[in-house]
């Protein structure tokens, strides 16, 4: 499904450049549930954004569903984001002046789905998230957990193949986090690939596979319970 080969990326900096991804090789198969862990500044978000076609990379190769993503035009990238990918952000990123229902329906607008159909599917999706009674609420009228449910509903509305979530529980308390993770597990159970960036061990533990980044390279990659061992190569102490 997703294949990264020798991905390198650096940010331009005053008087030079800051390498952030220093040769990432990564394969993620359809239906996996992967956690990306690592200390702050290790490049987790950067990696996820590259995977989500929200950001570019300097060298290496990226195949999404067998198609090379290097040198993709802006329009083609938009099409992949629209059809393959769904995003969940730490800060929810709901559009403030649209209701829950309209937020969920928006990705379908960019797929040119008729309005009636959009509303219907958005309502169904909100129902699945247990949010159908809040459909006409504005984001400002929702709790953090509710906002994230709406955001997940919005990410799922287009039936994407991959959900990319950057610290989806980062702004939530532990009970709500558990609920959101429950939802994401259900999403994954339906066959959708889920990739979650987190620095919470118990979140990573709820995934099947964990990748640990350190200073722009993958230092560990394996079954979740094993990678997050506190003693694992001393990585924990750098968090």
């Amino acid at each position: 499904m997703l294949a990264l080969r020798e991905i390198e990326k650096s940010y331009p900096l005053a008087g030079g450049s800051l390498p952030v991804l220093k040769g990432i090789d990564l394969n993620i198969a359809q239906g996996e549930m992967v956690a990306i862990m690592g200390s702050s500044g290790s490049g987790k978000s950067t990696l996820l954004n590259v995977l989500g076609l929200l950001d570019g990379f300097d060298s290496g190769g990226y195949d999404l569903d067998g198609v090379d993503m290097a040198g993709l035009s802006e329009k083609q990238a938009a099409r992949y984001r629209s059809q393959f990918l769904g995003f969940v952000f730490q800060s929810f990123n709901l559009i403030s002046f649209k209701t829950a229902l309209e937020n969920v329906a928006l990705p379908l607008f960019y797929q040119k789905v008729p309005r009636r159909e959009r509303q219907k599917r958005a309502m169904e999706m909100l129902g699945k998230m247990g949010m159908d009674d809040r459909s006409d609420h504005l984001p400002s009228e929702l709790s953090g957990g509710q906002k994230q449910r709406v955001a997940i509903a919005r990410a799922l509305i287009t039936s994407p193949r991959v959900i990319l979530a950057d610290e989806p529980t980062g702004a939530l308390d532990s009970t709500t986090s558990t609920e959101v993770m429950q939802v994401l597990r259900e999403v994954n159970a339906s066959g959708i690939t889920v990739i979650i960036v987190t620095h919470e061990a118990d979140i990573a533990e709820q995934c099947d596979r964990t990748i640990r980044l350190h200073d722009g390279v993958i230092i560990e990659d394996g079954k979740s319970g094993e990678v997050v061992e506190p003693t694992a190569r001393g990585a924990r102490s750098q968090d």
Partner: protein, 407 residues
């Protein structure tokens, strides 16, 4: 691009930011409003002055006299200077070479009767050339002939107000009316623009002098300057003025006793004034437009900045740059167009509401110059579109993640 979905999206974002919508609306609407009102007032002034000129021919010189205000050559002031037939004859035969001329004498508030109807109208004695000096479009019958002058015929040409008020259904041509108790035959009628010009009853000057007061007095003289240029007409004015002052012993500085007015010169003067007014309006209008355009540009720049994260979110959800660009540009166009139209409507409504109270000698029909206004509106809409497009282009060009991270 222009489908219903887009419009719903736009309606949404427009109503979602009422303050921004109000600000844009104000800067554009106010600009157009000021422009419309300024234009209207300018035109009102121009119309008023032009109406005041009436339908006098541009190439005519009007000669009037009054009481002296200065002593001259042993004569006391406050003496009335009266022109007579001999003055007219001398001036037209010896002093100047005018292609057409007419003496003029007026009797205000004269009773005019027809059958059982009667009313008060000014009777004006003129010569046949007069219809070359003032526009009197004939609607029926004929104008006064040289023959009428020679024979001192009791014939008259009436304005259309008399048709309505006296003759009603009857045919006026050939009808007999009494002017101050004396019977005249109507030979023609005319209709001209303006309010009271149509109440006039024109009779031959000779007939008036004979029938009403048996004198040879002439109140005014109108001379055509033909195709003389401003220089030539000025020379003509000076010649007439000098002759009358000499004959009637009027002080050269006495501006009341002898007044010779050159329409051509006055037209030229008003032309300069109007050019000035138009220029002034253009400058004010230009600045108003500029202010409106800058206002829109500012607001759109802020709006796009504020919406950078939203643009990033939309891109993450699969929006193409084109769809975001068109959303913002159409939104900017819709906003400026609607506010501009509102400004135009309120401007026109204001002018229409004010017009009836603003009737004055030098002010009439403050009409709206639609061409200028629509051009102004188009300029603002284009400015709105550009000022939406430029920052939006900048915002959609950056990678989605940069937009998402924007603070």
């Amino acid at each position: 691009m222009f489908n219903r979905e887009t419009w719903i999206e736009i309606a949404h974002t427009v109503t979602a930011n009422p303050l921004r919508t109000a600000l844009t609306g104000l800067s554009v609407g106010l600009g157009i409003f000021i422009l419309v009102v300024m234009q209207g007032l300018g035109f009102g002034l121009q119309n008023g002055v032009q109406q005041d000129f009436g339908d006098e021919a541009k190439n005519s010189v009007w000669v009037r006299t009054g009481r002296t205000t200065l002593p001259y050559r042993g004569r006391q002031p406050n003496r009335y200077v009266q022109m007579r037939n001999e003055d007219e004859q001398r001036i037209t035969e010896q002093v100047v070479d005018a292609p057409a001329w007419s003496g003029r004498r007026m009797m205000w508030g004269s009773t005019v009767g027809y059958k059982n109807e009667q009313g008060n109208y000014p009777i004006v004695g003129v010569e046949p050339d007069f219809d070359e000096l003032e526009l009197l479009p004939l609607k029926g019958g004929r104008w006064l002939h040289a023959d009428d002058m020679a024979k001192e015929s009791k014939v008259c040409v009436v304005g259309e107000n008399l048709l309505d008020e006296l003759f009603k259904q009857d045919d006026a041509i050939g009808a007999f009316v009494t002017l101050r108790g004396i019977t005249f035959r109507v030979v023609g009628h005319f209709s001209k623009n303006g309010r009271w010009g149509n109440s006039m009853v024109y009779v031959p000057l000779t007939t008036m002098q004979r029938v009403f007061n048996g004198s040879d007095e002439v109140d005014q003289m109108v001379l055509s300057t033909g195709d003389l240029d401003l220089e030539g007409s000025k020379a003509m004015v000076e010649a007439v003025d000098g002759d009358l002052r000499m004959r009637h012993s009027v002080h050269p500085d006495d501006v009341r006793a002898v007044r010779v007015r050159d329409n051509q010169e006055e037209f030229a003067m008003f032309d300069r004034i109007f050019t000035g007014i138009r220029l002034f309006i253009w400058i004010i209008g230009g600045f108003t437009l500029l202010a409106g355009a800058i206002g829109v540009a500012n607001i759109m720049a802020i709006v796009v900045k504020e919406r950078t994260v939203e643009i990033g979110v939309r891109k993450a959800l699969g929006a193409t740059s084109g769809s975001i660009l068109s959303l913002i540009v159409i939104e900017a166009i819709a906003l400026t167009l609607i506010s501009g139209a509102l400004g135009l409507i309120t401007g026109v409504a204001t002018l229409n509401a004010v017009a009836p109270y603003a009737e004055h000698d030098y002010f009439a029909n403050p009409e709206v110059n639609l061409r200028v206004t629509v051009t102004a509106l188009a300029v603002l809409v284009v400015a709105g579109a550009i000022s939406g497009f430029v920052p939006a282009l900048r915002a959609v060009r950056i990678r989605p993640i940069e937009a998402l991270r924007y603070e």
